[in-house]
Amino acid sequence: MPPEANDAAAPNPPQLWRGLEEYMDSPAFHEAMANEFPEDAAEWTDPVSRRNFLTVMGAGLALAGAAGCTPRPASMRKIVPYTRQPEQMVPGVPLFFASAAPLAGYATGVLVRSHEGRPVKVEGNPDHPSSLGGTSAIDQASVLDLYDPDRSKTPTRSGTPVSLDEAVHAVRAQLFDATGQPKQAVRLRVLSGAVTSPALADRVAAFLTQFPQAKWTQFEPCGQDNVREGTRRAFGRDAAVNYDFKQADVVLSLDADFLGDGPGHVRYSRDFAARRRVRDSIPAGADGEYVKPENMSRLYVAECMPSQTGSAADHRLPILSGQVEAFARAVAAKLGVAGAPAAGTLPDAAQKWIDPLVKDLQRVRGKSIVVAGDSQPPAVHALAHAINNHLGNLGTTVFVTAPVEARPDGKMLALADLVREMAANAVDVLLVLGGTNPAYTAPVDLDCAGAVKNVPFRFHLGSHQDETAGTCEWHINEAHYLETWGDGRGHDGTVAIQQPLIAPLYNGRSAAEVLAAVTLAGDTDGYDIVRAYWRKRFADEKRAGVFEQFWQETVRLGVVANSAAPRVEKPTLAGGWAEGASPAYPTLGADEYEINFRPDPTLFDGRFANNGWLQEVPKPVTRICWDNAAYVSAATAKKLDLDKDFRWTGGERGRTEVSVVTLTYQGRSIKLPVWLLPGHPDGAITVHLGHGRERAGAHVGNNPGQGPNAEGKQVRGSNAFALRTAATPAFGTGAKLAKTTDHYLLACVQANWVMTQVDPLNGTVIDRAPVRRGTNEQYKTNPWFAKITPTAAGETALISQNIPGQAGARNPESGTVRQRGTQYGPDHDHSNGNGNGHEGHGHHDDRLVPLTMYNPNDRLYPDGSRGPGRRWAMAIDLSACTGCSSCMVACQSENNSPVVGKHEVTRGRDMYWIRIDRYYEGTPNEPDATRTYFQPVPCQQCEKAPCEIVCPVAATAHSADGLNDMVYNRCVGTRYCSNNCPYKVRRFNFLSFQDWSTESLKLGRNPDVSVRSRGVMEKCTYCVQRIRYGEIVAEREHRPIRDGEVRTACQTACPSGAIVFGDLGDPASLVGKWKAEPSNYGLLAELNTMPRTTYLASLRNPNQELVDALKR
């Protein structure tokens, strides 16, 4: 109900919605709700749940609101109170609840913010080891799935809505005979995604006990099969492995994207970043978060498709996926790993790597990690474990634990068995229990969808009417994780309790609930099931204390204490670990390529194909959105004469016309656009799975307004599953690529790829150096290297002091800053007499004189008028940023940013308030010399903001605490501010980008942020709603705001802790300490914008020996 205020600046948009009271009055809501609460709701209503808010309110529907448009404010709006207000709820005050966001079975602990019963924002749970407060972009976007207008809203039979009872009874009729006895003869198969959830596993186990003839198959198209099998091979038992990157001095990744993919990557990003955040002076109490330059870790990556991990690497070896094994063998052989198979032949570049790499690994015995990628075959994993064992890493940086998954088995093989059974008419009843969509994701040679048709009774539980639902007769709509109770395990096995924040919007059910319902179990409600399971386990594990207390505390924290998978104390290699190694890598024919299938970085295996945020957020590294492409190297593109055409527009931003290619593999082919990706090795093609879904959803995945894909279908991207076989799920050789005459428009927000520009007159290179970068060796000799500005302005020294919070010219011994006075012109910092380094915390005015015509000491801040004197500021450590895009989605979620669609992105109109710029160093023709940098760019909140002085109506102005305020309701849309913003971080609503009509999406909006209408400029505000909320809470208590009390959405989401935000006026603030670092610099600070957002230069730690070796 209450909070009014939601949309700004809308003159009269359709369905203006100010609060739930109005929202509930809308006819569309009536209609939607009529479908959403079926007649048998009573049976399922959960009397225990504390969060049935929406049901309470949903019943409270009143007369249609006065929808007129009158200039008079009075009586325009309604106000609808509760009839009985829930306890613990203060209207208007958001609440946080701990829950768990599942992905491919693994759960990440999250905290979800709820406004009046509506979950609005997902943040990481600092208490959960898989999160530590960070989240992935997928976790951030999961809340949008809840409000997806295309979710399955009702149980169906052959597509016709039926009641939930009817569907449940239909299953029961298959399972039980007339007397209520389980039918033992019926051949029963249960298919689900990977399961780590102890409660669900328990429920499945009970089911299997009840029906001993039943079989349970798990299938994950992009799961941990290779990891699991490799671990089993290495240690001779089912086990899981996790890593401690904080302790690792040297990391070798064998095609492993541990920073961007797989369970635990959020946590790994954080640990890894801790060894990359180089500091001149380590802040007190920040042990383990920062390092001195000499303690910086080193990352070697040998991989095919450039990944986030590869982008963060100090040395990256582009190599075919199939050659990784040979490379690993060579490393093992050189290291002298006992029993390692013989090394094959390696490409030249790879061969050069071996000696320096091995030497480096041996240097730090026991403090290194070799990690193999999910897509590498088990043999590579076994090799990696053997090397770790050899180097003494097991138990120090690499931990072998009991398995995390409820039943670790070969999922691809198990599916193949099931399909074979189905094809042989050996299955009577198939229950598909959500989390998996085999009709779309199964290997194409299995023909899963065809085999399913042979099963007489087919039942599907799923959140959407997807491809698998289409092959099944019966369907029940699955509840979202924010709607139902459950649990799940993180990468290290720690259990998170999945707590709902809202009653199921469409009365959906979880897998455990459905299993319970169809088997006539005692508990049919998710809460009862989970609680009962944990009551039993509490007793079984003989945990201390009272269960009720344990339960309350666990639910509150969201984490079950001490539930991590137990570590294997002294793991030993099994005897035959090296068996089953792949034969030597086949040589590629002249026109043959290696094809690589990878899960999409944002859509994963396609399950998020209807999530607008994940479709639109540019994929890390490639910066393409809304599509997939065949990624090839520059040499391959040249060989095939592939076009990447900007046409007469010269369009390097947002709009690119590329060739369409036909990709043929094992006799099957698809058409898709091709993309030249710097850093991709020659001879290989990478395609992302998860695109081209034909039953994704009408609003996003199959929205006809976005145009057809390269094959002419109304889907987003091309379906690479159509090429993927059971035998080669990750990569295989023999793919063919043929150029067609077609062209395709790709939305790539950043095709422009270098920081430098070549002067055509004399061939010199102009380096704008938006990312200041260097090595730790450089840093050791001169930590101030980032201060060098690329302009010839004589005021360089002065400008670098004018960056708020900057510690200026305090380092006489380095001399960098002062020297420039003579190098480029007169030194202007004569007025700055203090050398104590705290200059930046004071008022900056006296430094401005040489740079401004005005006398700065005037009425703007008369003495003492600044009250508590807060100065909000942000610092971003470019060494830590992995380019994962989590901040972009978090910002979109927090600030109600619209999804504009592919068409508008191609016109350069994406609406991200924070974007991630990706720069390459090197040339695209030498993939192994390419180095990648990421730079998140939010509004820099310049103290001398160029945008402000050009706004004719003062719609953007500075607040006293230094925010560059943007007042949407004052904006008239001249767009001059955007022109004058050197960072181009302002975003304009060129059209009515907001979805004003879809009712369910409105529930997910943040009520504390105006929803912008068309014709209005918008931009990052440092999450001013959070600042003001924090201020109000602190000032109500008459105390200062604590450092870290106000956190921006991007900061909270960042898995690697690259962003810090706080009050520069607080001398103890972390942001102040970051900014006092010598590597701190302001982007384009030479324009004297005095940005409040600054960057810490990106540092790499290359191995000089390897550098030299590669030069030879």
Partner: protein, 257 residues
């Protein structure tokens, strides 16, 4: 050439020429007056309600405290409109058969909220927070007027931006001690219960207590007479409650975001 225009035209044309600036001026003044009028702002306009709830009766006569219904005014941006259950607390005992209360009983029995008409309509892009105003010494009366005299509730202020801004620039004109926030009769210098006003502990930030439970320096004020002039009192309170300066308080993002 004959005369084109009759003589009478001369004064007429001159008058018309003079009318031009006068007309502009009058239109401007008229528009300015219109936008500030009760008609345009809804000030003092009684809003009909589904149940004829009388603040005059409940507050003025019965003396029910504001917080009894508006429970979250100290904790939230939203002061809360009481749930039907709050009405029923009393009205299951008294007036439980009155026709007037039929909608209330219906609401409670059928679990259907009463849909009130909003009286104070702040534009949706202005984010007003009750709790901070109450915490910083702005009394209910300052914005809502003498609500204890209102039968049907009406808006007693214009709620125009200039009205907000005026107080944000000069808060001292409206501030009152914490203990008098909910009072409808308080005025600076007016005796309370026949005695001259003195500072009480409740007036002090955090009740004059440090986190460790000791008294703050402010505690010495307790028992001292309060200034009797609003200006003097306001300035004292502004300092006491750490109210920031006008430039800070009129920053755009204070209210718009």
């Amino acid at each position: 050439m004959p005369q084109i225009f009759p003589k009478a035209v001369n004064p007429l044309t001159r008058f018309l020429v003079l009318l031009l600036p006068m007309g502009f001026g009058a239109t401007g003044v008229g528009l300015a007056a219109f936008y500030r009028s009760s008609y345009a702002t809804g000030k003092e306009e009684v809003v009909p309600q589904p149940v004829a709830f009388s603040h005059a009766h409940h507050v003025g006569q019965l003396g029910i405290h504001c917080l009894y219904c508006h429970t979250s005014v100290e904790d939230s941006h939203f002061a809360n409109i009481p749930p039907t259950a709050t009405c029923i607390n009393c009205h299951q005992e008294m007036w439980h058969g009155a026709d007037m209360l039929q909608p209330v009983r219906d609401s409670f029995q059928k679990d259907k909220p009463i849909v009130w008409n909003r009286v104070h309509n702040v534009p949706h892009y202005a984010y007003f927070n009750h709790s901070i105003h109450v915490a910083k010494g702005v009394g209910c009366q300052s914005c809502h007027g003498n609500i204890d005299n209102m039968n049907l509730t009406f808006q007693s202020s214009t709620l125009l931006m200039e009205w907000c801004i005026n107080c944000h620039r000069n808060p001292q004109e409206q501030l009152r001690p914490q203990s008098e926030i909910f009072s409808m009769t308080w005025a600076p210098g007016r005796p309370v219960n026949g005695k001259a006003q003195v500072w009480v502990r409740e007036d002090l930030p955090n009740w004059g207590k440090n986190p460790d439970g000791t008294d703050t320096a402010h505690a010495s004020m307790i028992g001292q007479p309060r200034p009797t002039a609003q200006r003097e009192l306001g300035l004292k309170l502004k300092e006491l409650y750490d109210i920031r300066d006008g430039v800070t308080m009129t920053s755009c993002s204070m209210c718009h975001r």
